[in-house]
């Protein structure tokens, strides 16, 4: 099951030149771009591992593309995303975040039902991938 998280997630995967164009857009707006990765695809998993520091004071996408490619090389079967962080007062938040790398096979989720008091049912998601320990998922 293809995971749809972040911006552009319902589009086909971006090519490198398309990623580069998005990064240039971030830089044009003075956003700090950062690269993050994870192998836990749960939608509530907001805190991914950082691939190095967020890159402030960058003028050109070349350096960021380099980091993205390094991260993909190190974790070819992880999810890798690119964030654009806007530090201007009032925003101070991530303005753009999109996935640039995903595992070849994404097993997806199943729904867990829990019986609550008074026959109420609580639903939650469970990712098949996380049945294996961290680092061994998506081999």
């Amino acid at each position: 099951m293809r995971i749809t998280q972040g911006t552009f997630s319902f589009l086909a995967d971006f090519s490198d030149s398309e990623i580069r164009a998005q990064v240039e857009y971030c830089l044009k707006n003075n956003w700090a771009v950062s690269v993050e990765f994870t192998d836990d695809p749960h939608p509530r998993n907001t805190y991914w591992e950082m691939w190095g520091m967020p890159m402030f004071d960058m003028k050109d996408a070349a350096g960021i593309m380099h980091e993205i490619n390094q991260c993909r090389k190190a974790y070819p079967n992880h999810y890798v995303r690119v964030n654009g962080f806007d530090s201007t007062r009032g925003w101070e938040t991530v303005r753009l975040s999109f996935i640039v790398n995903r595992p070849e096979h994404e097993p997806g989720f199943h729904v867990l039902r829990q019986e609550g008091p008074g026959r109420s049912i609580r639903y939650t998601l469970h990712s098949y991938a996380t049945e294996k320990p961290k680092g061994e998922r998506y081999k």
């Binding site: 004071d57 960058m58 003028k59 050109d60 350096g63 960021i64």
Partner: protein, 316 residues
Amino acid sequence: MNPDPVVPQNLPDDTPVDLEGAFRDSRIQEVLDQLDRELIGLKPVKTRIREIAALLLVDRLRKGLGLISGAPSLHMSFTGNSGTGKTTVAMRMAEILHRLGYVRKGHLVAVTRDDLVGQYIGHTAPKTKEVLKKAMGGVLFIDEAYYLYRAENERDYGQETIEILLQVMENQREDLVVILAGYKDRMEEFFRSNPGMSSRIAHHLDFPDYSPQELLSIAKLMLEAQQYHFSAQAEKAFQDYILRRMQMPHFANARSMRNALDRARLRQANRLFARNQARLTKKDLVTIEAEDILASRVFKEGMPDEKAGAKPGAAK
């Protein structure tokens, strides 16, 4: 997203080429004119810049006709004494290369050893890479580059920086241009001990010292920029000052001129106060008089005003 423009193949040999039009469109003449106007002297440097501009322009035309045009290596070394305009020219160079489409952004990142070399094992590579990433799309200016290599200490972390630099200079030529700068003799020694670096640098530009006449023109330009001017006697006195100052230690060309003018402005302000004149005119405020210059220790004691001397080679 942006498909490459269709490149024509096998055009006939007599296809007309609009070199002049391309030159106009790049608006490179403006930058060259500005260079001529604002930088006094430096003849060999200007010639070389013109040559590089011509090469890049022709290269671009060749590309338009579908001819092979490998990105030329444009890494440079600027050698010369302090105050000869290395940093200033580097900044212009970034702009010129940007106009010619050789670098994408045209910013200048000026660094020294401290910005590149770490303090403990494993600190250097990330630090150097960080700087390189920031410089991408523009020009990386390494001032006093010879400090990167310390012959007496083979475990110095500078070596690591040099290796990373070499790799990027070779493999990411289209992403950034590296300019190394420093004193001539020490740079030559640096290149001797790092032949790999020397062979990757295509352009060695030597910045000659300024003649007294050029120094005077520079001083006048500086004053003009600050909206001051010399009185006729002051100009004579300053000419004399230049000749004397050039013989003294720690002479730093244009930077010494800047310092001398700053001190002359200080004395001028003092003089205006001391005279306690009720009616000053605008003319008084913008004119540097001979006495402002003659009060310098260069005339009185025969030594430069700055006690510690100008820091050699320090970029402003």
